[in-house]
């Protein structure tokens, strides 16, 4: 069976990919489920189709299309013969490399769920609904056995069990995390890991965590454990409750320090087998005296001592001495004149980067003056002084300003600081920042206009590479969330097919953690100070120290919290609040609080994911859009910018995205991937047939290199959007005026919008014949879509003001620190829209295409949104690159290749027209335009001087960054009838690798004229990269692939638009 073979390879590839993507987040696996669902369905349908249609083109048809057909023809199709499935599964299992077993198992499990859904077994349904929560193992097995051939069953069962167990564990882990968050759940936290270990069939890994006192803490974690699992274990070990200020770091493959994302699997983050971490302060509390517990302050002290000693926290000689003296006091107690001075110790210890005798003497001298101070007091004094240091809590990142001058960007509690050498040259307080984004190695902040200014301004910085840009962006997002928000941004209801990183801060904010710690009600825990470990000779409170040591062991035990108060007084000499009453209730309450928070998030994430999968499915199953529907697309398209506002609030991170892209590509073909960001395979991009984007995107996009390939069915068509696009580009280049550019973009957007309005009838409806459950979900989605639409409408009028932009790849993402201004008004419109849409829904029968394509619009808006004042010049590359070899991740075009043609084919059918299948794409080069030069301007206000002379600034800094070349290859054809029929934005796909970024967008336009239906497919492939690209090869490749994908279409026009950065200072 051909199909079987196909799925086999799919599976294999999937396995490979999953292996190749260490970066996938935990969510990736969840998304995998969806993918698996789709896959399962797909396969079934495919098979059926096989039976009916036999050979021929069907081979090339994307599975989902076939399925769709079969569905429309025979609705009962859904009930797939269960026997077929196992084969695929088996292959899957067998082929999954050993380490991937987990992932595989999960997928399998998911598939089963899907199947049960399809078969509409009530049990199964309930199972699928609840599975996420309850994990009924038995049901699972039943399903399996019914569905599998006997031989497989056994294996499957074990596999399933494994998966279940794992899931359970994960849940436990989460629960622990929550409980851990709730502090008082520590007992359970403590136990559960053990339980895990016992039950665990999974591989355990030993993690080494360097603690702040320099000691090493090792613990075993399950290989797929999430970051927070390890983090909580460490906190538990440290007996730390106010843990939100801390985090774990690891060194990435580039030897750069990264924060371990608690919500993602460790394994996928570290990228290597080096399970080595460090426990560090992540958010430096601006006022450490507000911390509840001394142990927290102690840990903060340890971190700061290290910061000071290493020079990360610069301070003067006197301050070094002063801080050192407090350290001595905290560690040794009072200075003992009769005892030999602990100078030896001082000599060993590092207090300053350039410590000398003089300093040590000063330290000792000051130490004498601290007589009588308890360790906790000394720590507090230490912190009181340290917190005043100007670089306290400032996380520095190397960057360059627009002129290539080296600067440092410092992220701190209050905002973003800009340093040139040691001098602060600018500062952007969080409230001043409207948007933080990065794109490749550029980092942008959009600044709220001042009282006298009319426009927002965008300031851009260049970082060393996209990794550092992303890291900086993440740090900003986290710091802003932690210090400025009352609660982390809630995940939006549905995360829709957006591009870019959805990374959000997932922990508690400072406000929350303060509240939480105000509820801490345990006796002050005992803890050992560093030096007391090293030096037996005790000092000031000799008894105190000994007690500390005696109780140290207990102190580390989680049960300590439950110990009675009587134990604690006197221990460790820490001041004990007499008000502290040991109360279990409080603990419980506290932890509940945390659990709730966490649960919500989790649920929402799940829901959202479900909806995505539904969306995908519905998209696949939907008959191709009828003529009016293109407008739907446009609507969504244009609406998406607004969507991004919400979407961005997701906690989901990029890596997850990537993962899902990979999976989805196999199963769902291009569609799903449309919303995914990062696949880093140029090849894939080209293959992605159904990728779409509005022409506007391209025209407005500043991406340096554009390779536009439009293939058109049956001469006839003019690639309208594209044509528009090219001029737009030119306009940009000609005018050199940022303002104009913006205008152009806006105009285009507006046009699109109008069209979409005209097209109102085109509505998103749910196709009949889908399982009820699915339908429901889909409806939800539809609603979401509507919202988006409304958002967009709001956005349009306001133009630049409230438009949020969306990122297009992992290499870019953005974050709106402040709620978009327009949001409230938008709400109203949303409602209206919804009503409207509902009406339409009733009327409409066709399922219109779901939303995948909406993303590009955001880009569009993004562009448009660029302030008139500032235009961000993109750094462009030298050549378009489509070299498949360069693709870091191997890709599998087969599926995608299948997908596209089908689409086209189908559309005619829906219209009731025979498709005008003309084979043989014959590209003919007709014209080759002179390379116009784009002169763009990047205005960067990186210091106050520039800020001052705002008006001048724009004119003053005209920097020619790019050279643009547009080459159009055009087949002789009737060009006339491009009457602005709006195209259907099918998909957009962005593939990003280290050095290049490929975005493929496909615009499909259908026209019905004189009984003839013409379908025009415009593919726009944007390749950006830092290294040399063989653009000829890229072009050839693109054309070839286009041909392959649309054998029945002819390539009528090829436009190559090249932008090259002329003077790239850095790189």
């Amino acid at each position: 069976m051909t199909t079987e073979a196909g799925s086999e390879t799919e599976v294999k590839e999937k396995a490979e990919e999953s292996a190749a993507q260490p970066d996938q987040s935990e969510k990736a696996s969840e998304e995998t489920k969806e993918v698996a669902n789709a896959e399962g369905e797909e396969k079934e349908k495919e098979k059926e189709k096989e039976g009916k249609e036999g050979k021929g083109i069907s081979r090339y048809l994307p599975t989902w299309l076939k399925k769709q057909k079969s569905q429309s023809q025979t609705s009962p199709t859904k009930e797939a013969p269960p026997t077929e499935e196992p084969v695929a599964k088996v292959t899957q299992e067998e082929e999954g490399p050993a380490p991937e077993v987990n992932g595989q198992a999960e997928e399998v499990e998911e598939k089963e769920e899907v199947k049960s859904e399809q078969v509409k077994e009530k049990e199964a349904e309930s199972h699928s609904n609840t599975s996420a929560d309850t994990e009924p193992a038995k049901e699972e097995k039943v399903d399996e056995s019914t569905e599998k051939s006997p031989e497989e069953t056994k294996k499957e069962a074990t596999e399933g069990e494994g998966a279940e167990e794992e899931k359970k564990k994960e849940q436990e882990g989460e629960k622990e995390a929550k409980e851990g968050g709730g502090e008082e759940g520590q007992t359970s936290i403590f136990q559960s890991p053990l339980r895990l270990v016992r039950k665990n069939k999974m591989k355990l890994v030993v993690c080494h965590v360097t603690l702040l006192d320099g000691t090493d803490f090792s613990c075993e974690v399950e290989k797929r454990a999430k970051g927070q699992f390890l983090f909580f274990k460490v906190c538990e070990h440290l007996n730390l409750l106010e843990k939100d200020y801390f985090g774990l770091t690891y060194m990435d493959s580039h030897e750069e320090k990264c924060w371990l994302d608690p919500t993602k699997e460790i394994k996928r983050q570290i990228r290597s087998n080096n399970w080595q971490f460090a426990f560090n302060v992540k958010f430096y509390p601006p006022d450490p005296s507000l911390l509840t517990e001394d142990i927290t302050r102690y840990l903060l002290c340890l971190q700061l001592r290290e910061d000071v000693a290493s020079g990360r926290l610069p301070c003067s000689f006197v301050t070094h001495a002063l801080l050192g003296s407090y350290t001595l006091q905290a560690e040794f107690g009072d200075h003992e004149p009769d005892q030999p001075r602990p100078l030896d110790y001082i000599g060993q210890a590092t207090f300053a980067p350039n410590q000398n005798k003089e300093m040590e003497e000063k330290i000792l001298e000051l130490h004498k003056s601290h007589r009588g101070m308890t360790p906790a007091q000394a720590d507090a004094q230490f912190l009181e002084n340290a917190k005043k240091l100007s670089m306290y809590g400032v996380d520095l990142h190397h960057a360059k300003d627009s002129e290539g001058v080296d600067i440092m960007l410092g992220v701190c509690a209050n905002g973003l600081l800009v340093y040139k050498d040691r001098l602060r040259i600018n500062r952007f307080a969080w409230p001043k920042i409207l948007k933080i984004s990065y794109k490749r190695n550029n980092f942008y902040i959009k600044i709220r206009p001042g009282e006298t200014e009319q426009f927002e301004s965008t300031v851009g910085f260049k970082l060393q590479n996209h990794r550092s840009a992303k890291r900086l962006w993440k740090v900003c997002v986290e710091n802003h969330s932690f210090f400025r928000l009352n609660a982390p941004e809630p995940p939006t209801k549905a995360r829709f097919l957006t591009l870019g990183s959805k990374f959000r801060y997932s922990g508690r904010t400072q406000a929350q953690t303060r509240l939480a710690s105000s509820l801490i009600d345990r006796p002050a825990p005992n803890f050992e100070r560093t030096s007391s470990k090293r030096i037996s000779r005790s000092l000031d409170g000799a008894p105190v120290i000994s007690i500390t040591e005696a109780t140290a062991e207990n102190g580390r035990e989680p049960h300590l919290e439950l110990q009675s108060d009587s134990k604690s007084p006197g221990c460790s000499g820490l001041p004990q609040s007499p008000l502290r009453v040991h109360g279990d209730n409080i603990y419980v309450r506290h932890s509940n609080l945390m659990l709730e928070d966490h649960d919500k998030t989790q649920e929402e994430v799940l829901k959202h994911q479900a909806s995505i999968s539904q969306l995908k499915r519905s998209f696949m199953e939907a008959p191709p859009p009828s003529p009016p529907q293109p407008n739907q697309w446009e609507k969504r398209l244009t609406s998406s910018p607004a969507t991004s506002i919400r979407i961005q609030q997701q906690q989901v991170s990029l890596e997850e995205e990537i993962a899902s892209v990979l999976f989805s590509r196999h199963s769902a073909a291009g569609f799903y991937s449309a919303d995914e960001t990062d696949c880093s395979v140029p090849e894939a991009t080209l293959d992605a047939v159904i990728c779409s984007a509005s022409a506007t995107v391209c025209s407005s996009s500043s991406s340096p290199q554009k390779l536009l390939i439009s293939s058109t069915i049956s001469a006839a068509e003019v690639v309208e959007p594209q044509t528009e696009a090219a001029p737009a580009d030119n306009t940009i280049s000609d005018t050199k005026e940022p303002a104009k550019t913006t205008e152009v973009e806006i105009e285009e957007t507006v046009v699109v919008q109008e069209v979409s309005r005209v097209a109102k009838p085109g509505v998103v409806t749910v196709t009949a014949g889908l399982p009820a459950a699915e339908q429901e979900t889909r409806k939800q989605e539809v609603r979401v879509v509507e919202e988006e639409v409304m958002l967009k409408e709001e956005v349009k009028p306001t133009k630049q003001e409230s438009v949020s932009s969306e990122s297009e790849s992992e290499e870019e993402a953005e974050y709106h620190p402040n709620m978009p201004i327009a949001q409230i008004p938008e709400e109203k419109e949303e409602e209206e829209e919804q009503e409207e849409m509902k009406k339409k829904e009733e009327v409409e029968e066709d399922v219109s295409v779901p939303d995948a394509p909406s993303i590009p619009a955001e880009e569009e808006t993004n562009r448009a949104e660029d302030d008139v004042k500032k235009i961000e010049t993109e750094e462009s590359t030298d050549d378009p690159m489509v070299t498949p070899d360069e693709a870091p991740n191997g890709v599998l075009p087969p599926e995608e290749g299948l997908a596209a043609p089908t689409l086209e084919k189908e559309e005619p059918k829906v219209n009731g027209e025979a498709s005008l299948v003309e084979a043989e794409p014959r590209p003919q080069v007709i014209c080759c335009s002179e390379p116009p030069v784009v002169k763009t301007e990047m205005v960067t206000i990186s210091d106050t001087f520039a800020a001052q002379k705002t008006e001048i600034a724009t004119k003053e800094v005209p920097i020619v960054h790019t050279e643009t070349k547009t080459i159009t290859y055009e087949a002789a054809q009737l060009d006339g009838n491009g009457d602005g029929e709006p195209g259907v934005l099918m998909t957009a796909q962005t593939i990003t690798s280290e050095s290049l970024c490929t975005t493929t967008t496909t615009h499909i336009t259908k026209t019905l004229k004189g009984g003839l239906s013409e379908t025009r497919i415009e593919k726009r492939i944007v390749i950006t990269g830092d290294c040399d690209i063989d653009h000829d090869q890229a072009l050839a490749q693109a054309i070839k692939e286009a041909k392959e994908q649309h054998p029945d279409m002819s390539v009528t026009r090829v436009v190559v638009h090249k932008e090259t950065e002329l003077a790239d200072e850095e790189d």
């Binding site: 006197v318 003056s369 002084n385 005043k388 040691r422 001098l423 602060r424 001043k432 800020a947």
Partner: protein, 282 residues
């Protein structure tokens, strides 16, 4: 011992310097004006008297140097914060040697001396505004980026932000501290702009006291034992409107000090003394 950044405005010592006769003709000035040296000396004596007797500071008086017509403006020769003294490299060539005597005096006071040796760096103390929490360095005709960097290096504890000086000689020509967290600022547009920048650049909140006359915004704030907040400011004869504003400071001991002559050579009240707190360092 006081911790970091404690005791803003606490001073025990003041370094001043006599007025050379050359001041009348040779001292640098932005607008041509006849200076009556005798009058200027009387003014200066009164100023020093306030520091010594009224405020009880220990005054170190350096002799005037005829070859250094501007030497009375000791503020520009050094920046003292805590027990560290940064000997500057004045932007005006003719004033470079003023630092020698100042360096000696500060050494004698047991301060840690940091010298600005970089040939490319210039810095006038008059461009350095220390708020108690951070430094603002005005980039002016006399002070450049490099000078500011060296200052930042010398006082690592503090944030050092640069602000443009659009008008006037020095940053402190139109602003100064009037108390902890209180910036006295002139009402001219450039002054107000500069203040905005300072506020934007700072993590700390500052109150502002806007006086109608930019030059009146140069005043000397101290926080002295038994006296509390002390503010030496312009006289009603010179800037009547601005004095009315100062008089709104109810918690301050207000001491009007005449500065009619020295102002002709761009000298403000802050320029004429270098205030030092020796108690902070044992």
């Amino acid at each position: 011992m006081a911790g970091l950044m404690a005791g803003f405005g606490h001073y025990t010592h003041a370094v001043v310097r006599g007025i050379p006769s050359s001041l009348a003709k040779e001292a640098l000035r932005s607008c041509q004006a006849e200076v009556d040296v005798a009058k200027a000396r009387r003014e200066h004596d009164a100023y020093v008297e306030v520091l010594r007797t009224r405020l009880g500071l220990e005054v170190v008086e350096l002799p005037a140097d005829e070859s250094l017509p501007d030497c009375v403006f000791v503020e520009d020769a050094a920046v003292v914060c805590g027990d560290t003294a940064l000997i500057t490299r004045p932007g005006a060539e003719s004033r470079r040697r003023e630092t020698e005597a100042m360096k000696g005096a500060l050494k004698d006071l047991n301060l840690n001396i940091v010298e600005m040796t970089d040939e490319n760096a210039t810095l006038d103390g008059g461009d350095v505004l220390f708020t108690g929490r951070e430094f603002f360095v005005g980039l002016s005709k006399r002070t450049n980026q490099r000078g500011a960097e060296i200052l930042a290096d010398a006082f690592k504890d503090y944030a050092v932000s640069t602000v443009p000086v659009l008008e006037g000689l020095h940053l402190k020509t139109f602003c100064s501290m009037g108390g902890p967290g209180l910036i006295v600022i002139g009402s001219s547009e450039p002054a107000q702009k500069t203040l905005k920048i300072m506020q934007q650049m700072s993590d700390h909140r500052y109150d502002k006291l806007t006086v109608p006359d930019d030059l009146a915004a140069n005043c000397v704030y101290m926080n002295l034992p038994n006296k509390g907040h002390v503010l030496m400011h312009c006289t009603p004869e010179q800037y009547p409107e601005s004095v009315k504003v100062f008089e709104k400071l109810k918690d301050h001991m207000l001491i009007p000090v005449s500065n009619l002559e020295k102002v002709k050579v761009d000298g403000g009240l802050t320029c004429c003394s270098m205030l030092i707190n020796k108690k902070a360092n044992n």
